[in-house]
C-alpha cells in the first residue's frame, strides 16, 4: 500500500540569557522551566520509545544560543539547584497535605521531578545535548542547526553578516554534535530570495518555510505543500502545513484546550506562604511560577473554580487525541494520494516548548502518536526531513517567496514602529565590525580579545528575540534593555579599540557575562576571507 509521511519538526530555541552578576535572575528561569517541562520529558519519552523498539523519526532544531546555554557550567549548576528546590517544595507540600485531595497530585509531582532529576544528573551527567545526540546517532532524531542568534535574515542589511549568521550556526552545531548539519531552521522561518545561495554555499541541504513561502514561489509548486521543492541553487524547501499544525498547537481550537488537561495559569507559586516563596522560589520573596500546578482546565471557569488535576485521566485523553490525530493525518494522506498519486509529506513544525511547558501532556501525546503510527497505521509513516529527501529526490524546481511564520506571515512582528529603532544600530555596528576586522589584521592579544567580545555583542544584538518580546508585550523592559546593552557594549568596546584605551576589567566582566560562542574569531568578518 502506498504511504504518506508525517514529518514532525520541533524548533528548540531560547534567547541567550545568563546573569552571573545576580544569584537569582527571573528570566534565567525560562531555561530551567524549559529543561524541566519540555527537554527532559521529551528525552524521556523518546528513550522509552527506543527501548520499546518503536520505529519513529522526527526532526529537531537546537539553536546555537541554546546549545551554548546547555553547555554553560554556571547555568547547569544553577539548574541543578532549581530542580532540587522544586523537589523539596513538592516534598514539603506533600508532607503537609498527605491526606488531602491534592496529596495525590503532589505525590505525582514529587515522583516525576525526582525521575527527571535522576535522568538529568545520573543518566545524562548534566549533559542534555548528549541525550539528543544519542537519539540522532541511533537514527530516531535528526538534529538541524539554526542561524547564530536566530536573526531575521531578510531584515539584515549586510550580506556578509547573513553569511556569518549561517556559518556560526554550522560551526556551533559541528562542535556540539560532531558532524555537519543537513538542514537549517532559519530564525522564525524568515526567508527572502537569494538566501538559498548562502545556504547552498555552506552545504545546507534543506530548510522549512511557512506554506505561503512555497505557494507564492516561482513557479508555484504543482503539489502544493505536500512535496518539497528545490531551488536552482540546490536547496530543498519544505512547507509547513498550517491546518495539521493548528490542531496541535491551538489552545482554543486544538487538543491542548481539553478540559482534562493541566491548567497552565494556576500555579502554587502564587498560593504558598511567603516563607516558602523565600525558601524555594526567590530569597527576596518574589512570586512566580514554580512549575507545580495542581488543577485542570476544567472548563471556561475562573481560576478559583478550577478542579484538581487527574494525571491518569489527562494522559488517557492525550492517548485518545494521538489516535484522533493519526486518523486525521491518515485521511489527509489518503486524500493527497488520491489526487497526486505521489508520496505526500505533511510537515508540522512546532516550538518544542509547546510539548510539556505549555501543553503539559504534549510529550505523552507524542509518545502515543509515534507508538500508534508505528504499530497500527497502514498508510502513514513518520519521517525525518533528510530521510524523505533520500527516498524521494525528484522534485520540482521552484524559487520560494519571502515569508516568515510570524503573525501576518512576513516581517512586521520584528519591524514595526515599536522596534524599528533597532535596525540602524545593527547596520552601523555591522559595518564597524567589518571595518575593524579588516583594519586590525595584526592585532595584539588584548585587541583580539576585545574584537572577539565585540563579535559576541553584535551577534547578541542581532537576536530576533528582543524585537519579538517588545512587539508581543512580554518582558518588554528586559528585552529593550538587552538590545540596548549589547549595542552600547559593542560601541563602548569599539571606542576603546579605536582610542587605544582598553578597560580590561570591563572586558573581563563582559566576557564572563556574555560568554556565548567561546571560540568565536572576529576574523570571520574580514571581507576578503
Amino acid at each position: 500500500m502506498k504511504k504518506g509521511y508525517l514529518a514532525l519538526v520541533l524548533h528548540t530555541h531560547l534567547p541567550y540569557i545568563k546573569h552571573p552578576e545576580e544569584d537569582y535572575f527571573l528570566e534565567e528561569n525560562w531555561l530551567y522551566e524549559a529543561i524541566t517541562e519540555s527537554y527532559l520529558p521529551l528525552l524521556d519519552v523518546f528513550n522509552r520509545l527506543r527501548k520499546e523498539n518503536v520505529y519513529f523519526q522526527l526532526t529537531m532544531s537546537i539553536t546555537p544560543p541554546l546549545v551554548n546555554m546547555l553547555s554553560d557550567p554556571l547555568l547547569l549548576e544553577r539548574y541543578d539547584k532549581y530542580i532540587r528546590s522544586r523537589i523539596s517544595l513538592a516534598e514539603e507540600e506533600l508532607k503537609e497535605n498527605i491526606n488531602m485531595p491534592k496529596g495525590k497530585i503532589l505525590a505525582f509531582y514529587q515522583k516525576r521531578l525526582k525521575h527527571l532529576y535522576e535522568l538529568f544528573s545520573k543518566q545524562l551527567n548534566s549533559d542534555i545535548l548528549k541525550g539528543f545526540k544519542e537519539l540522532q546517532d541511533g537514527g530516531f532524531l535528526e538534529i538541524i542547526t539554526c542561524t547564530a542568534t536566530h536573526e531575521i535574515l531578510p531584515l539584515e542589511q549586510n550580506n556578509k553578516i547573513k553569511e556569518i549568521q549561517v556559518e556560526v550556526g554550522i560551526d556551533t552545531y559541528r562542535e556540539a554534535f560532531g558532524r555537519n548539519p543537513n538542514g537549517i531552521w532559519l530564525g522564525e522561518c524568515a526567508y527572502t530570495k537569494g538566501l538559498d545561495e548562502i545556504l547552498s554555499a555552506n552545504g545546507i541541504l534543506f530548510t522549512v518555510l511557512d506554506s505561503h513561502g512555497l505557494l507564492h514561489g516561482e513557479p508555484p509548486p504543482v503539489f502544493g505543500i505536500s512535496a518539497p521543492v528545490v531551488s536552482k541553487n540546490g536547496v530543498v524547501f519544505f512547507g509547513r502545513d498550517p491546518m495539521a499544525s493548528k490542531q496541535v498547537w491551538s489552545a482554543s481550537e486544538g487538543y491542548p484546550g481539553d478540559f482534562n488537561y493541566r491548567e497552565f495559569y494556576k500555579d502554587i507559586g502564587y498560593e504558598i506562604s511567603p516563607e516558602k516563596v523565600k525558601r524555594y522560589l526567590h530569597p527576596a520573596g518574589f512570586r512566580f511560577d514554580s512549575g507545580i500546578k495542581l488543577h485542570k482546565i476544567t472548563g471556561k471557569v475562573p481560576l478559583k473554580d478550577k478542579e484538581f488535576y487527574d494525571p491518569e485521566a489527562a494522559f488517557e485523553t492525550a492517548e485518545t487525541h494521538a489516535g484522533n490525530y493519526m486518523f486525521n493525518m491518515e485521511k489527509e494522506v489518503e486524500y493527497l494520494l488520491n489526487i497526486y498519486k505521489k508520496d505526500p509529506i505533511i510537515v508540522v513544525p512546532f516550538d518544542t516548548e509547546l510539548f510539556g511547558h505549555w501543553w503539559f501532556e504534549g510529550p505523552e501525546f507524542l509518545y502515543s502518536l509515534f507508538n500508534k503510527i508505528s504499530k497500527f497505521s497502514k498508510s502513514l509513516e513518520t519521517v525525518s526531513l533528510s530521510r524523505y529527501i533520500d527516498r524521494f529526490p525528484i522534485m520540482q524546481i521552484s524559487e520560494p517567496d519571502a515569508s516568515s511564520w510570524g503573525e501576518g506571515g512576513y516581517f512586521k512582528v520584528w519591524l514595526n514602529e515599536e522596534t524599528d529603532w533597532i535596525y540602524e544600530h545593527l547596520n552601523v555596528l555591522g559595518k564597524r565590525m567589518m571595518d575593524c576586522s579588516n583594519r586590525f589584521q595584526k592585532s595584539s592579544f588584548l585587541q583580539k580579545r576585545l574584537l572577539n567580545q565585540m563579535t559576541r555583542e553584535l551577534l547578541l544584538a542581532e537576536s530576533s528575540d528582543w524585537a519579538f518580546l517588545i512587539t508581543v508585550g512580554t518582558a518588554v523592559n528586559y528585552a529593550r534593555s538587552r538590545e540596548i546593552f549589547h549595542i552600547n557594549s559593542f560601541n563602548y568596546l569599539y571606542d576603546q579599540l579605536i582610542n587605544g584605551k582598553l578597560d580590561l576589567r570591563f572586558l573581563d566582566w563582559l566576557s564572563i557575562k556574555d560568554s556565548i560562542f567561546p571560540k568565536i574569531n572576529y576574523e570571520i568578518f574580514k571581507e576578503d576571507k
Binding site: 552571573p20 544569584d23 557550567p73 554556571l74 549548576e77 531578510p154 542589511q157 549586510n158 543537513n182 527572502t192 530570495k193 537569494g194 552545504g203 541541504l205 507564492h216 516561482e218 513557479p219 508555484p220 504543482v222 503539489f223 518539497p228 528545490v230 536552482k232 540546490g234 530543498v236 489526487i339 498519486k341 505521489k342 529527501i389 529526490p393 525528484i394 520540482q396 524546481i397 521552484s398 519571502a402 515569508s403 506571515g409 512576513y410 516581517f411 512586521k412 519591524l415 524599528d420 529603532w421 535596525y423 540602524e424 544600530h425 552601523v428 559595518k431 534593555s481 540596548i484 546593552f485 552600547n488 557594549s489 563602548y492 578597560d503 580590561l504 576589567r505 573581563d508 566582566w509 564572563i512
Partner: protein, 200 residues
C-alpha cells in the same frame, strides 16, 4: 554568594579573579580563589557603574552616512537614514532603471513607504548639485514579497541530489527516470485541473 562561587568552575573563578586584579590567581586553589574574590569584591561596584551607563542611552546619531532599507510586509518598505552632509538630502527608491520615489528629506529620519509587491528595489540617499543627483549612500537590492501567488513559470523536475553541492553527483537510474516521467504525467494532469485556461 559563596555558594554561587562554589558552583563556578575554577577556570571561571580565575577569570573573575582577574577582574579584581588578584595576584597569583593561577596558582590558587578553588577555595583560595573564592576567599580572595570575596575579600576583593568592592571594585565590582565600578563595573556596575559602567554597566548602568552602558544600559542607559543609545547614541542618538552616529554622525556617519548610513541607510537602512527593509521589507516589512507585501507592499511596504521601511527606510531609515542619516547623513552628515550639510545640504538637505533627497531620498530615492528605484529599481535600477525606473525611479519610484524622490523625496526631499531631513538629514536623518525614517519612514514606511508603499512599494510594488514582488519587486527588487534599492534606496539611495543623495544631494542635488544643480540638476545632477549625487548619491551619498545606497542600500543593497531588496526583494519585496508577494501577498498572493503568481500563476506563471514552466514546471521542471530534477533530481535534487544532483543539484546539491553537499551530495556527490548521482547518476539517474532507470527507476529514477521512470519516477520522473510519472511525476511529470501527474503534474500535467494537475496543472490542467488547476489552470484550465493555460492548457486550452
Amino acid at each position: 554568594m559563596r555558594k554561587e562561587f562554589e558552583s563556578m568552575l575554577r577556570k571561571e573563578l580565575v577569570k573573575l579573579a582577574s577582574i579584581y586584579h588578584i595576584k597569583n590567581r593561577h596558582k590558587l586553589s578553588k577555595s583560595e580563589l573564592i576567599s580572595a574574590i570575596k575579600k576583593a569584591k568592592k571594585p565590582l561596584k565600578d563595573i556596575k557603574v559602567i554597566e548602568e551607563k552602558v544600559l542607559k542611552e543609545l547614541p542618538k546619531k552616529y554622525n556617519i552616512n548610513h541607510l537602512e532599507f527593509a521589507p516589512k510586509e507585501p507592499g511596504y518598505a521601511f527606510v531609515n537614514w542619516e547623513t552628515n552632509e550639510s545640504q538637505n538630502p533627497t531620498l530615492k527608491i528605484h529599481d535600477g532603471r525606473k525611479e519610484l520615489l524622490s523625496l526631499p528629506v531631513r538629514s536623518s529620519g525614517k519612514g514606511y513607504f508603499k512599494v510594488t509587491e514582488g519587486s527588487k528595489l534599492k534606496a539611495t540617499l543623495g544631494v542635488y548639485k544643480g540638476n545632477r543627483f549625487k548619491g551619498i549612500v545606497s542600500s543593497s537590492e531588496i526583494y519585496f514579497p508577494l501577498s498572493s501567488p503568481i500563476m506563471a513559470g514552466e514546471v521542471e523536475w530534477v533530481n535534487s541530489k544532483e543539484m546539491s553541492k553537499k551530495h556527490k553527483k548521482v547518476k539517474e537510474t532507470k527507476e529514477m527516470l521512470k519516477e520522473k516521467e510519472k511525476i511529470e504525467k501527474v503534474a500535467k494532469k494537475i496543472k490542467y485541473l488547476r489552470f484550465p485556461k493555460e492548457d486550452k
